[in-house]
Symmetry: C2
Subunit: 480 residues, 2 copies
């Protein structure tokens, strides 16, 4: 039978201002993981979060993740892990949830309309502030779910395991090994029956979605060097082979204007589109105007929504990010850079094995560079890799979430994939061996990572209801 | 008859330590024109120089050049101009000399072995310090020439006009108009019979040279933009046309690994090599090992010295300097830059008219970009231009300088051109209508603009003698 959620929902509405105030408190702590001088604030934020949950009776631990690799003077923020209720109820399912309490850098001078570390709510209910949607809103969503169960007297439907980290915006340093260790038998996360992550966004602004796939990312550097030091183009132009000349040629051999990857063999690694899959795209709530609005231009590759969504979700892409070591400032400098490093990455999809992609990339670059017959030296290497992830959207974890969406929002959710990567998703899947669900709270216009990041009040408050409802549906969903 | 220089030379040797101390005082003033916070030091340096010359009885003026364009809060350093003797002797020729008292930026942390603003003399007589060779040593050379004439009782052979500026390392802001105005009849520089600039270097380390040609430089930007703001490659990779993809293609269409310019029509603008010119190169004191040593590698384009010197002096070259607006830091960032600007410049030679070069560059880029059929927008524009300069090395100004070199160094100088640009050279030629001579003091290993800039004690002291001897020979050279 359908869960009785009315009292819980009513409490969420009653406590809305209190929950917004809680978000304001969290936003006020500038927990920027990428900035060394903010590390104390990140750690403070972790302990503040732990305190909020302890006040609600959760069993919480701050786990030391050691020192930051390559920056041994810097302590990593702790993994804040917990269990609610504090004592496990063996009659109930156990759901592991993940979020992060660190945020991207932000300065008023970057162009923010309001102070980034002060939550500012406008008359349309848009709550501006760094971390509001990414990911403090969703993380506090779980806290508020617990509080509204207590306040409404509704029995908590599951055993909730929590894993909140403080380095997500800086590569989740130290977290993978920790998760793998804690998912082993007898350890903290061993009992998880399913995993839920709320750290992504709706495809648009009106229709909720459940996300079952992510692309991977393999990031490469092409380093070309020749002279022993930077040269003056007046003195040496026309007498020396220039690394930049070779680099732009190698970079231009990788991809064309329409995004077609020109590396031999890459497209053979991509799983073919099935007829069933083709039919999925037409129903997704997405239009070309959505794309143009988010691009801020009409410079899309494809004229139709289906091929655009496939371009984002299920085909690989190759982006050239920039050049290190060359002149990159405004103005004019007549330098011949001695060593330049081109950066590019490939978004990967099923069935591309990262090792196979590496081999094709290296072979292509080396073969192309050879045709230049340059005396300069080239080295191509992988900077980092994260594999793609695709879950089954027919799993009970997703079925439960879909029912919760319908209960709270009154519509069936879109089933989406994402073009980006959330590497921890794959880690949780592999470490627990269980289904992982991405259940977003915010919408496509939230501007995570940009200036004027916001979370709509409606998405926050209804999102708290959604997370709570999900726990009720997932508690009683048939598992066969 | 040959000038009697012995007493003057002897005084230079006697006063050597005093002249080195004068250079140390000048180096100690960090007159960095490119750094706003050093502007007071640049101005201080100008007044210090004026004071040194006034103590020797010269008539000196500090001329206001106004505010810095686009930085109206910044006062430009004055042009320090002067005349020695203070009262013109109408029986003597008038020689106008130019130098600059500002320097390139320098920080110990850039990799200097010694404090850059403290002149440090090692046991091989290498005098390290920012500005030692570029251009405080040569500028003080003229001061020391005056002092040693006074101390030795040798009659000063010419009327010396001086023009010393404080913005050479930052585009000589404000100077061109000033020179043009002061060369007009009745103005300060109106009487100049010839011009001498000491602000370049020997081709090697052992043989002095006189320089009669410089390449010009036309500096361009290729700006390509598409999306309204930077995009995340996970979300938008594979759905949007990316400006960087187009930019590397346009940049790679300009030049190849061997430095061949691929812009239609450029090579037709270049003056053909005559048989007479061909014969000049083989006698120049330069070897391929000199090139490899200064490159710090063997990545030269041509295997022979003649073609290499022609590549530097008399053929155009095109260098790609870098990209503004893309990711240029170390590490990995998965950004799709919304607007990127590629920078490149062409070193120009006779008979390339800058306007013709612009037209060919714009036409090439626009035509090539059209073949990409991109929805992005491209704009190509000229950042700045400076024309090439070639003087007649058979002019009496050069003949006199060659005699001075032979007197001081015991060898005939190489007659060289340079690959770089000294735009003020052309300004003086056009404004005075007289012959301009480049008479370098330092050697090829002085590392002007780099870390560990130095001037050899020998080049400084013998260089003072050379400048003095030049004034004697130029005073009596037949002018037919």
């Amino acid at each position: 039978m359908a869960p009785q959620l009315d009292a819980f929902f009513k409490s969420v509405d009653t406590e809305a201002d209190h929950y917004i105030d809680r978000l304001a408190q969290a936003v006020a702590i500038p927990s920027i993981s990428a900035e060394e001088e903010r590390r104390e604030d990140v750690i403070k934020m972790g302990h503040w979060l732990k305190g909020q949950l302890e006040q609600l009776g959760a069993h919480m631990e701050a786990r030391d993740l050691g020192k930051q690799p390559h920056k041994e003077h810097l302590q990593l923020p702790p993994a804040i892990i917990g269990r609610y209720p504090a004592k496990k109820d063996d009659s109930k399912r156990t759901i592991l949830v993940y979020g992060h309490y660190d945020v991207q850098p932000a300065n008023l001078s970057d162009g923010w309309a309001t102070e980034p570390f002060k939550l500012s709510v406008d008359n349309k209910g848009r709550m501006y502030g760094r971390g509001s949607t990414d990911d403090k809103g969703p993380v506090l969503g779980w806290v508020n779910v617990i509080e509204s169960h207590q306040k409404s007297g509704v029995d908590f439907p599951v055993n909730l395991l929590m894993c909140f980290e403080g380095m997500e915006e800086y590569g989740s340093e130290g977290l993978d090994d920790f998760i793998i260790a804690e998912c082993k038998p007898g350890k903290f996360f061993a009992d998880a029956d399913a995993v839920c992550i709320s750290d992504n966004y709706w495809l648009g602004t009106e229709k909720p979605c459940l996300t079952y796939g992510l692309r991977g990312c393999s990031y490469y550097s092409i380093e070309i060097h020749g002279p022993g030091q930077d040269l003056h183009s007046g003195v040496f132009g026309g007498t020396a082979q220039e690394p930049m000349t070779d680099l732009v040629r190698v970079m231009s051999s990788l991809v064309d204007t329409n995004g077609t990857i020109l590396i031999d063999g890459i497209k053979d690694l991509v799983a073919p589109v099935t007829e069933e899959e083709k039919s999925l795209y037409k129903d997704i709530a997405f239009t070309m105007d959505n794309l143009y609005e988010s691009l801020g231009s009409k410079t899309g590759i494809f004229p139709d929504k289906e091929r655009t969504l496939m371009g984002r979700w299920r085909y690989p892409s190759l982006s050239l990010h920039g050049v290190e070591g060359a002149f990159s400032a405004p103005g004019a400098k007549t330098v011949i850079p001695a060593k330049v490093t081109g950066k590019f990455s490939i978004r990967t999809v099923p069935d591309m094995e990262p090792d196979d992609v590496d081999k094709l990339v290296f072979a292509h670059c080396n073969k192309f560079f050879e045709t230049l017959q340059s005396k300069n030296t080239m080295r191509v290497f992988l900077q980092h890799t994260g594999k793609w992830w695709v879950a089954s959207p027919k799993h009970w974890n997703f079925t439960a979430a879909a029912k919760a969406v319908e209960k709270v929002w009154g519509v069936k959710p879109d089933l989406t994939r994402e073009g980006g990567s959330i590497p921890v998703t794959l880690t949780f899947e592999q470490a627990t061996g269980k289904n992982v669900l991405l259940l977003p709270m915010g919408s496509s216009t939230d501007a995570a990572h940009s200036i004027n990041e916001k979370l709509d009040r409606r998405n926050y408050i209804e999102g708290i209801k959604l997370l709570g409802a999900y726990l009720h549906y997932v508690a009683e969903e048939p598992t066969h």
